[in-house]
Symmetry: C2
Subunit: 401 residues, 2 copies
């Protein structure tokens, strides 16, 4: 007799995007599908030195079990960094996590019960939708535009049937690249505070701003209702799996307890190595280097889209981050386009899986951080040809008519 999966495990499908990525990562495909930072910018030598120093000086402590809360000097650095951005935070309200993804998981566990409603941007970060679904929460899609989530729509949706939590990526959103406008930030936090709704501010990309002025962090507007997730994955390296969550003390405490039963704590060595690195490394200068590189890549992508995409194609113009969001003309389906694109050795992620409700099949996501400008142009030329040739084909409706 073979084993039966739990009902909740049978409900969870493997990520469609991860399956696409496997094909897209073939060496001759120019892939804009992933969400990878540029590895040539990883501070490999500084990371190696930090590991060597920590192991030479405190090797036994760095390899032993440690507290779930995380290495105190690392939490102190993070808190000082956040206070510099106007947030009221301290070490007791900060938990080291193994990636922001874990912050989403932990916040969901301690804030949502099965059947609870969580409001998300439409579209939203796919792996967050998967967390909410795996815990039996109901995702409610809130309309979003170039200014981010429509907070007026959120309030209307909540009046009709209450939501318990709001999840959003306020800066250079994944997948759209858009940023939540300052006035909407104030409106969102006022609303959440009035209604006792938790706001998960997932901010992996906030440090990667190329133009414009930063809007205030939601956590800086009202720390009592916001759980904020930050990470070193986009500014140092994702392979270290060092990130953090900060928020109200009782919520962070509950997340810490929940985390004890998931994996006890983050790698002691990785936490100490990152803390050591931050003591001796010009983090701000390093992030500035990443910004300059990614800005050039974003510029290349926007310029190439202008040159190569047929009329009627629309795309976002992100002020930072890693992604551009594209709407194809005349209802061309990105899902149907993908196999053709892969034949032409260019890859993207179709937009439809990012929608909690009413998927828009004419959308797709492009990543610009992982390829140099010249390859971005080659890739967009390939993509432009694929879209254009699709437009020239008789549509199935015409063919049938």
């Amino acid at each position: 007799m073979s084993l039966r999966l739990s009902l909740r495990a049978s409900r969870v499908a493997p990520s469609a995007v991860r399956e696409i990525l496997k094909v897209a990562e073939q060496p001759d495909v120019l892939s804009f599908a992933g969400g990878l930072p540029a590895p040539e910018l990883f501070p490999v030598e500084a990371i190696a030195r930090a590991h060597a120093e920590v192991l030479a000086r405190d090797g036994r402590a760095a390899l032993q079990y440690s507290t779930t809360e995380g290495f105190l000097p690392l939490r102190s650095w993070i808190c000082a960094h956040l206070r510099g951005q106007g947030m009221d935070v301290d070490e007791d309200r900060t938990l080291i996590t193994a990636g922001s993804q874990m912050g989403i998981e932990l916040a969901t566990r301690v804030l949502l019960d099965p059947g609870d409603r969580v409001a998300v941007e439409s579209p939203s970060y796919l792996a967050a939708l998967q967390v909410f679904g795996s815990h039996g929460a109901e995702c409610v899609a809130v309309p979003a535009d170039e200014q981010g989530m429509r907070v007026d729509d959120l309030e209307r949706i909540h009046r009709r049937r209450p939501v318990r939590m709001v999840y959003l990526v306020p800066n250079f959103q994944n997948p759209t690249g858009t940023t939540l406008a300052a006035e909407r930030r104030h409106a969102l936090v006022r609303f959440a505070s009035r209604e006792g709704i938790a706001v998960i501010e997932d901010d992996p990309y906030g440090a990667l701003r190329f133009d414009g002025e930063p809007a205030p962090a939601l956590a800086a507007l009202d720390a009592s209702v916001v759980v904020r997730l930050g990470t070193f994955s986009k500014t140092l390296a994702p392979g270290l799996r060092v990130a953090w969550a900060s928020g109200p003390k009782d919520i962070i405490r509950a997340m810490t307890v929940a985390r004890q039963s998931i994996d006890l704590h983050s790698s002691t060595l990785a936490q100490r190595a990152v803390a050591r690195l931050l003591e001796q490394f010009d983090y701000e200068a390093h992030v500035q280097t990443i910004r300059a590189s990614y800005r050039a890549r974003r510029d290349a992508m926007l310029a190439s889209l202008q040159v190569h995409m047929p009329a009627g194609t629309r795309w976002t113009r992100p002020q930072g981050g890693m992604f551009v969001w594209v709407e194809l003309p005349d209802g061309v389906s990105a899902d149907e386009l993908l196999p053709v694109a892969l034949q032409q050795k260019v890859a993207f992620v179709p937009g439809s899986p990012f929608f909690a409700e009413r998927p828009r099949h004419e959308t797709l996501r492009l990543n610009f951080s992982n390829r140099p400008p010249e390859l971005i142009d080659v890739g967009m030329a390939r993509l432009g040809r694929v879209v254009t040739s699709r437009l020239l084909q008789p549509s199935p409706d015409y063919a049938a008519g």
Copy 2:
């Protein structure tokens, strides 16, 4: 308005043991409370060299995002190691985890729905009970003796009301130090296979056998119903958070999908560093060194208990691992003894939290891996005095009478 915790978060209390450990770790307390390996045996230099080499040779890949399944050469080493112990396993049926704790979490997610019953040894590993509770499963305590879980009792319990999963630590159990007898292993796997019940074989200590012959792994008897958890935490170092789960292909696949939404994957660097270490390091000789050291500590503890504990005290004689389990005479409560012991600068963990049902308050757990023999003797002398003086006091009943 402040935020409300989810019902499931409000149900989960912080671990009583972790609270005890905070007091026990004061520098003048001789603590036998934790479950820490001996840090002086960590192969610090070999781990440092492996990190340095990986970062020098493949730094960019070692710091990038990677697959959820884990680094293939590491999985290959693990599979070869397990096949050497008679297990039928391959890379497709092996997932790298961030500690065995995560294996318990993932197996629970994909095998249990809320309300399902999971059979555990009485007593059982505390943090496993917490995982089952946090997922709304019902823990059913199966009697256990010096030969481990009573499989006849398990079958009787299952006939009365079915269990969906069995969790156990078959070798040098936490907290009791006992080992499941070979004939019970065969009986358990036959029963599980016949009834389609999943067996979680949690084996963090199996490599640490000091005497006697190893019994076959449950996974070696019938790979179709056993999810086996292994780890480098006790043989290399726990701070790396590198462990693994192996089992039926569809279960490992579902655990991999579940893990995507928890933290994407284990540290790329840590996995590659461990794989590199295992290429150039005499792992077997290193484990042999640990065994020799821990054997001397176990011997010291058993001898010291014999010298210092009052008549009527009983304890287990583990053939390996890290723990001895003690039953105090005349119903002395270990919970009540602990504050007195802490005053006398010796610490242990009371046994009661380890029981899923009907806690036995006269029990306690002692760890022998984290102190040298001479300090073990000092600690047991202190503990013996505390127990003896307790026996000489009038009990509360007499005082009231």
